[in-house]
């Protein structure tokens, strides 16, 4: 670490004196006041910095009040690389907000130190607008990561689109080395993605943009076509296309590590397009180890386009009710399946479907069943087939239907035997 003497070396700090002079001043002052025993003054600045890095912001701030030297350490660039702006309206949020004066200080003294920044906003539009205002002022910033997190409602969507886009563009244009970008639930659009790509194509590795309704498949394709370093991508199903998958599998492209797709139905009866098997095959060939995470929030009768052919999904999550029939297709067509969560299914037992999944999804290591039904015998059969590979087996007690072979009490022994550890179903207390 570069040894920094006294004040900051860059001219952006509030101290107007040049470094050596400031240093001398400090040294004279302290040597007059200091008793000979005190070695604090001789603690090298870099050690002080190291210690400060362990302190949470509030404690660091207290420390900065102790003396000028500690105050200077507090303002060293290294301590301002990471910052999370928390913006919320006091009347409606438990969360603590970053004080506006601190925000001002950061913008004036530290904006060019910031590298890893996130904004957490609550459900109010004012908070999202405040975030955009700050973003617009980060002109001297060369950000590596940026995260816009709306904790409750998608409040960035309430901000006038142009305001949001121009704020975001400031960052895209000035950063030029953005590596990670999280902009889920925002009004980002195709042109702004073009700006992102134009300035950061060589560095972009992670892009999360689920629920961004103003982006089109062409917009995201532009990203895939030019950002060859992209390793993680999260988006909604309507943006997924055969072209996108092929772009991500092109020779120049790095191996993709993580692709998350949210399949969300806004209204019952929505239609979804299909992706060709050949596109998925290309993905698997190019990135054999990639995780394909799919979250389904569909109504039961909307699953028509899905699971009719082999799909390389690894983590599958059904947020609403999914039919027995579809789960049967999952067993047939998801050979890479590692994790399966079924929130709700209905009142018909999933016996055959589960057994098929155990037989054919040889990588399965975690399963969770919420509101479903499985007969105890079938469940034991399931665990016999894949128990040794299951690190997580989360079944609600009410899922298991006792039958002539097993009662609820007996089943936990059988299952524990085949799992190789003590297992009980998840229960709900009887209040």
């Amino acid at each position: 670490m570069k040894r920094i003497k006294g004040g900051e070396e860059d001219g952006n700090g509030s101290s107007s004196e040049s470094s050596p002079e400031a240093c001398k001043k400090v040294r004279t002052q302290t040597s007059e006041d200091e008793t000979p025993e005190s070695d604090w003054v001789r603690l090298p600045q870099e050690l002080l910095l190291h210690v400060f890095q362990y302190l949470p912001l509030l404690d660091r701030a207290y420390a900065s009040q102790v003396c000028r030297r500690w105050n200077q350490a507090f303002h060293m660039p290294e301590l301002w690389r990471y910052f999370e702006f928390e913006l919320n309206q006091p009347a409606s949020s438990y969360l603590k907000a970053t004080h506006p004066d601190l925000i001002k200080q950061i913008i004036t003294r530290h904006s060019n130190h910031l590298q890893y920044v996130s904004f957490k906003v609550d459900s109010s539009t004012e908070s999202a607008e405040a975030a955009c205002n700050i973003l617009s002022q980060l002109v001297n910033c060369s950000l590596k990561t940026l995260g816009l997190i709306s904790t409750a409602r998608p409040s960035f969507m309430e901000v006038p689109k142009s305001h949001f886009i121009s704020a975001l563009t400031v960052v895209f244009v000035n950063s030029k080395s953005l590596s990670s970008l999280k902009i889920d639930d925002t009004p980002v659009d195709d042109p702004s993605l073009k700006v992102l790509v134009a300035n950061n194509r060589d560095t972009l590795k992670l892009l999360k943009m689920s629920s961004c309704p103003h982006v089109s498949p062409a917009g995201i394709l532009c990203v895939a076509d030019q950002c060859y370093g992209l390793r993680e991508l999260a988006l909604n199903y309507h943006l997924l296309s055969d072209e996108l998958l092929l772009a991500l599998s092109s020779e120049k492209h790095v191996h993709l590590e993580h692709l998350r797709i949210d399949v969300v139905s806004e209204n019952p009866g929505q239609h979804f397009h299909t992706i060709k098997k050949t596109s998925w095959d290309a993905m698997v060939r190019h990135s054999p180890k990639f995780n394909l995470v799919m979250y389904f929030f569909l109504y039961e009768d909307e699953f028509g386009p899905f699971f009719n052919e082999e799909v390389p999904v690894t983590h599958l999550y059904f947020g609403r009710s999914v039919s027995k029939e579809v789960l049967g297709r999952v067993g047939l067509h998801c050979p890479r399946l590692v994790e399966l969560v079924v929130c709700a299914n209905g009142l018909r037992p999933l016996d055959e479907e589960l057994i098929r999944i155990a037989k054919r999804c040889t990588q399965l290591s975690a399963i969770g069943l919420g509101e479903c039904e499985v007969s105890c015998s079938a469940f034991v059969e399931f665990v016999k087939l894949c128990g040794r590979r299951l690190s997580q087996l989360s079944i609600m007690e009410e899922v298991l239907i006792p039958d002539h072979k097993y009662s609820l009490d007996e089943i936990h022994w059988e299952v524990s035997k085949h799992l190789g550890r003590v297992w009980f179903p998840d229960m709900m207390p009887t209040w």
Binding site: L55, P56, L57, L58, D59, A61, Y62, S64, Q65, F74, P90, S92, S93, Y94, L95, K96, A97, H99, D101, L102, Q105, D122, S123, T151, A152, R153, V264, F297, Y317, G319, R320, S321, V341, C343, A344, L347, G368, G370, E371, S394, M396, E397, E398, L408, D409, F424, D426, M427, M428, P429, T430, W431
Partner: protein, 522 residues
């Protein structure tokens, strides 16, 4: 030595299975059975009118039973730490007995009173009979920690053996040498509390579904135990949350107030079970009592059990503060008939089925409204007849997936869940009569009914009945992500430095002032 003894009733409002009371009678010449109306506990915020009525009923019943033994109940108003020194002097008390209570407020209050008693040379004796087992012993058996799973607790219970057998109520024989000096103006000085005493609006009171008192509790116990088939086959999850009359025993309020001894209940069940095939814990009736034991143990072993902050087992979640949402939930106007019907029954009768509790608790917290479980806890404490500090805190944490339970993807649908056991929505029609005329197709989702149907039923959504407060499908999806974040944070959070709450006086606004946590006005 002969004693002048005060037996202090707090919970344990009964004569049967009351070892502390029996201990009071030993070598006793004068007995004063006392109940203290403590303004900290007995005020109109903590105690809703149904709870109050139940308590008053229980006290009257106690007084009645004591009279049969030539004694009386003394209801004293004031704070225990102020009331007792006076009584010790006035009555020349030499012994004080009470049933042990594990709640933090009780422990500290009892500590204070014990110190005062010592100063007045009063011997203090307490007995454990509110829980099946000695909770501290249970924790000891688990290496000094409260078990965090029901099954772990069952294992400990196995090693401890069955709970102690209950002891009978005192008889005239036990009381033969005991006097309870009663003055002529006993009625004025120590009168039974009235319904209006706390300031509730008694006109709002509905019909009493569950009268308080030991006699009533024993009668109900007898009635239920006669149905041996039902008792043996009982599996609580199979009972219905929205049947028109309760599908479970509803003995819980009596056990909470101590009108019915948990051990008595346990051993009566054991009698019924004997030699017969029966369901097992956790779903059986024995299982219910063990759930209670589980949460009592957790409440003793886990600090700050009724809060999120400072509670080591509770996931720290960034719940929203939304008074609008909370009021709508509390006042049964969320626009979801299933939820609103349950909250209506709760307010009117003071009791709802446990699955109904699950549904509304999930809805308030991680399912839909994303409001802290601590708010729900307060409402239940006020309204539930069987509202119990330990069980309330424990169950709210469980249902909000904050502790004990982590399968947060399993969310109760405010529309679909009730339909399973009540397709026609009869329960909804009973408690929300304005929706009575809606066809079964729309009764769980009235906003989906065409305008003509709403008009025909005399119930327009947005006018006569509120719009749904949240779009369940949309918001539950967001909430699952928020829960994931909270869980992720849990595993990466290093032990942070304790937050400093004291302000530092500075002349100019310092960075410290800027960072100080803002007031969390509770």
């Amino acid at each position: 030595m002969v004693h002048t003894c005060v037996h202090w009733f707090r919970k344990g409002l009964r004569l049967h299975d009351n070892p502390a009371l029996m201990a009071a009678l030993r070598d006793c010449q004068e007995l004063y059975p006392v109940f203290i109306l403590d303004p900290h506990l007995h005020n109109d915020t903590c105690v809703g009118i149904n709870r109050w009525r139940f308590l008053v009923g229980a006290l009257r019943d106690l007084d009645c039973s004591l009279r049969k033994l030539n004694s009386r109940l003394f209801v004293v108003r004031g704070k225990p730490e102020e009331v007792f020194p006076e009584l010790f002097d006035k009555w020349k008390v030499t012994k004080l007995t009470y049933e042990y209570d594990t709640e933090p407020y009780s422990l500290s209050r009892d500590q204070t009173v014990t110190t005062l008693a010592k100063e007045h040379r009063v011997e203090v004796l307490y007995k454990i009979s509110h829980t099946l087992y000695d909770i501290d012993r249970m924790i000891e058996e688990n290496n000094g920690k409260a078990p965090l799973t029901y099954n772990r607790m069952r294992a400990i219970v196995k090693t401890l053996g069955p709970p102690k057998k209950p002891i009978p109520a005192p008889t005239m024989e036990d009381m033969k040498d005991v006097k309870t000096p009663c003055s002529e103006n006993h009625e004025q000085k120590y009168e039974m509390p009235t319904l209006g005493e706390l300031g509730h609006d008694t006109a709002a009171l509905g019909e009493e579904q569950f009268p308080g008192g030991e006699q009533e509790s024993l009668r109900r116990l007898d009635e239920h135990m006669k149905r041996t088939g039902w008792v043996c086959g009982f599996e609580k999850p199979q009972t219905s949350p929205n049947s028109l009359s309760p599908s479970t025993t509803v003995l819980s309020p009596y056990v909470t107030f101590g009108c019915l001894s948990a051990r008595t209940f346990w051993w009566r069940l054991a009698e019924v079970y004997q030699g017969k095939k029966h369901s097992d814990p956790p779903v059986s009736l024995h299982g219910q009592l063990l759930w209670r034991e589980f949460f009592y143990t957790a409440s003793v072993g886990i600090p700050n059990f009724n809060k999120m902050e400072g509670n080591p087992v509770c996931t720290q979640v960034d719940w929203d503060t939304n008074p609008e949402y909370l009021a709508a939930w509390r006042e049964a106007r969320t626009g979801f008939p299933f939820i609103d019907a349950i909250m209506t029954q709760l307010r009117q009768e003071g009791w709802i089925h446990h699955l109904a509790r699950h549904a509304v608790a999930c809805f308030l917290t991680r399912g839909d409204l994303w409001i802290s479980w601590e708010e729900g806890q307060k409402v239940f404490e006020e309204l539930l007849l069987d509202g119990d500090w330990a069980l309330n805190a424990g169950n709210w944490q469980w249902l909000s997936a904050s502790a004990f339970f982590h399968q947060f993807f399993r969310v109760y649908s405010p529309v679909a869940f009730g339909k399973k056991t009540d397709k026609n929505g009869d329960y909804i029609k009973k408690y929300l009569p304005l929706l009575k005329k809606l066809p079964a197709e729309y009764i769980y989702e009235p906003w989906k009914a065409p305008r003509s149907v709403q008009q025909a039923a005399g119930c327009i959504v947005g006018k006569d009945y509120p719009h749904p407060i949240a779009q369940h499908e949309v918001i539950s999806k967001k909430n699952i992500q928020r829960m994931k974040l909270a869980y992720a944070k849990k595993s990466t959070d290093a032990a942070g430095s304790p937050s400093k709450k004291k302000s530092v006086k500075r002349s100019a606004p310092s960075v410290v002032d800027m960072l100080r946590k803002k007031d969390r006005g509770k």
